[in-house]
Point group: C2
Chain length 331, copies 2
C-alpha cells in the first residue's frame, strides 16, 4: 500500500502526515479511494460543526474564539476552510485563515484551506475525505467553514452534525441570502457583533423567518431525510461578541443541546445514513461521469450520434437516452 507509512503516522497524530494525505486526496481520486479505505474504521469520533455566513459577518474571529474555547477544554480541533468562490474573491477567505493559523499551536489546531480549483470529483467529495482524515488524525471537533453559496455548500454541510449560520446587525442582505439554500441545513443562528446597534432587531428578523419557514414547502428532500419522522428541530438563536467572547457559553450550551437532541431523538442515525448516501452519490457521480466521458471520446457508435447531432437529426437528450440504453440502464 503506497500510503501505509503516512497512514500509520496519521493515526499516531503526526500533522505532517495529515497534511500530505490531504494533498493526496485533493489531487487524486484514486489515492482517495485507497486512503479512505484504510482509515475508514478509525473515523466517526469527531463532532463536525459547519459554519457559514456572508462576507463581513466576522467568521474568522468567531471561529478563532470558538476554537480557543475548545482547545482550553483540552480538545483537538481541525478547521477546514472551503471557498467555492475562490476564483471570484481572489482567495480573500483563505488569506484570513493564514492569519488565523498564527494564533494556534500545531499540536492542538490543524487548519486547512480548500478552494474550488476544479477538484476532482467535486469540492464536496474532497471536503468529506479531508474530514475523514482529520477525524482519523484524532480531532475531537472539526469545523467546516464556507461562504454562503447555494448548492455546493448545502452538499458540503451534509457532513456536519451541527450547522451554525452567522449573521450581523445591519447587514440587510444576509437574511435574504440565508433563505436561498442554507435554511435546509441550519441548526443554530448566531448574531455576531452583538454590541452593534440592531442586534435584537436581527434576532427578531430571524424569528420571523423561522415562522415563515414553518409554512414553507421544501423542494429538496434533504431536510426531511435528516429529520425524517421526527418532530423538527427548531433552529436556536443566540447573540455573541466574538471579539470579547461574550455569550459563547450560551452558544456552546446550544451546540451541546443540539448534539443531545440528535442522539436522543434518533436523528443521528438519519444523519449518518444521509451523510453516507450523499458521499456515495458524490463518488458515483464522479465515476459515472468519467465513464461517460470515456465512452463519448472512444465509442464509434456514440461519435456517430454526435455527428448526427451536429447535423440536427438527433438532440443531446436523445443521445443521453441512447447511451443509457447502451449501458443497459434503461429499466
Amino acid at each position: 500500500m503506497a500510503y501505509s507509512n503516512f497512514i500509520s503516522q496519521l493515526l499516531k497524530g503526526n500533522p505532517r502526515a495529515a497534511a500530505r494525505l490531504i494533498t493526496f486526496v485533493e489531487n487524486d481520486i484514486v489515492a482517495s479511494e485507497e486512503i479512505i479505505n484504510s482509515i475508514y474504521e478509525h473515523t466517526g469520533n469527531a463532532y463536525i460543526i459547519g459554519i457559514t455566513g456572508a462576507p463581513g459577518t466576522g467568521k474568522s474571529t468567531f471561529i478563532s474564539t470558538l476554537t480557543k474555547i475548545f482547545v482550553d477544554q483540552g480538545k483537538k480541533v481541525g478547521i477546514i476552510c472551503v471557498d467555492p468562490t475562490s476564483p471570484l474573491t481572489g482567495g480573500a477567505l483563505l488569506g484570513d485563515r493564514i492569519r488565523m493559523k498564527q494564533n494556534f499551536s500545531l499540536n492542538n489546531v490543524f487548519i486547512r484551506s480548500m478552494a474550488n480549483r476544479g477538484q476532482l470529483g467535486g469540492l464536496a467529495r474532497a471536503t468529506e475525505d479531508v474530514i475523514k482524515i482529520l477525524d482519523a488524525y484524532g480531532c475531537d471537533i472539526i469545523i467546516v467553514e464556507t461562504v454562503g453559496v447555494g448548492q455546493s455548500e448545502v452538499d458540503i454541510f451534509k457532513s456536519a452534525q451541527t450547522v451554525i449560520v452567522l449573521l450581523v446587525p445591519g447587514l440587510g442582505d444576509d437574511i435574504q441570502a440565508v433563505k436561498a439554500g442554507i435554511m435546509e441545513v441550519v441548526d443554530l443562528f448566531a448574531v455576531n457583533k452583538m454590541d452593534f446597534p440592531g442586534a435584537d432587531k436581527k434576532v427578531a428578523e430571524i424569528k420571523q423567518m423561522l415562522e415563515f419557514r414553518k409554512n414553507y414547502k421544501y423542494d429538496s428532500k434533504d431536510l426531511s431525510e435528516k429529520y425524517a419522522k421526527i418532530e423538527l428541530w427548531t433552529p436556536e438563536i443566540t447573540k455573541v461578541n466574538s471579539k470579547t467572547g461574550e455569550n459563547f457559553d450560551e452558544l456552546l450550551e446550544l451546540i451541546k443541546k443540539h448534539e443531545l437532541f440528535l442522539k436522543e431523538s434518533g436523528v443521528i442515525s438519519n444523519y449518518m445514513k444521509n451523510r453516507i448516501t450523499n458521499e456515495t452519490i458524490q463518488i458515483l457521480k464522479h465515476k459515472l461521469t468519467k465513464k461517460v466521458e470515456q465512452l463519448l471520446n472512444s465509442d464509434k457508435e456514440i461519435r456517430k450520434y454526435i455527428d448526427q447531432a451536429i447535423q440536427k437529426s438527433l438532440d443531446p437528450y436523445s443521445i443521453a437516452n441512447l447511451i443509457i440504453k447502451m449501458l443497459g440502464l434503461e429499466k
Copy 2:
C-alpha cells in the same frame, strides 16, 4: 405534445411563448427533454457570445452598449444573465439586468435572468436549453453573461463561440481571478473604462499573463478539445469605453475575426462536438444521479451496505464500487 402550441408560437417569434418555455425548462427536466426534442432542428443559427468579469467591471453597461450596436445592425439579441452566486450576492447581478430591460424593446431584445436555485440537472444544463429556445425564437446573437466563478462558469461557456472577459484599470484582483478557470475558455479581453488611469498598464498585464499561459500546462482537456490539432488562437486584447461607445468598432471587428478564425481553421466543428458532448454529459449526470438516488433509497441490498458503512465495516468508495458492479458497469 403538451407544448406544441407554445413551440409553434416560439418559432413565429412570440416573446411570451419564449418566456413560458424557458420557465418550463428551468423547472422541469422532463419538459426540457420534450421541448428540446421538438425545437432542436430549428437551432444552430445564433452566434453565442459569453461575457464575464468580476463585480465592478461594468458588465451591465458593456452589454447594453454592445446590444445597442447589434440592434442597430438589425439583429435580434437574446441576453441570458446567469448568476451562480445568487444566494451570496442577494441577486445584485439580476437587479442590474431588470434596469437594463427598460432600455430595449421586447421585439429586438429578449433578456432573461437565471440564478442558481438548485436548478434541476444543473445551471449549465438549464442555460444550454435556454440558449436553444432563444436560438429557435430567432435570435441572431445570444449573449450569455456570468460573474466569474470557477467551474460552473467554464461549463456554461462551453456553449459560447466567442468568450469575452471584461477587466478594468486599477482593480488588482481581476487578473488573478481570470487565471483560475476562465483562461481555458477566453477568446477576447476587453479592458473597460479605458478613460481611467492604468488602462494601458492593464493591457500590459494581460499580455504578460498570456506569455505565461504559453508555458502553462492545463489540467483540463477543454482547451485541447476546442482547439485540437489547430494552432492556438491567441486571445486578442482591446480597450473600450462602454459609456461613450469608444472603440466598440474595434471590439466588433475582433469578434468578427474570431468568428472567421473558428470557421476557417475548422475549429468550429470541434466546438460543436465539444458543446454537444458537454450537454450530453450534463444530461447524463442528472439522469444517472437520479437513478443512483432511487437505488440508494429503495434497493434492500444497498440499504444493507449503508448500514455496514455506519458500522464502519464498509466505506463509501466501496459502496460506490458495489453499485457500479450491480449496475453491470464495472468493465
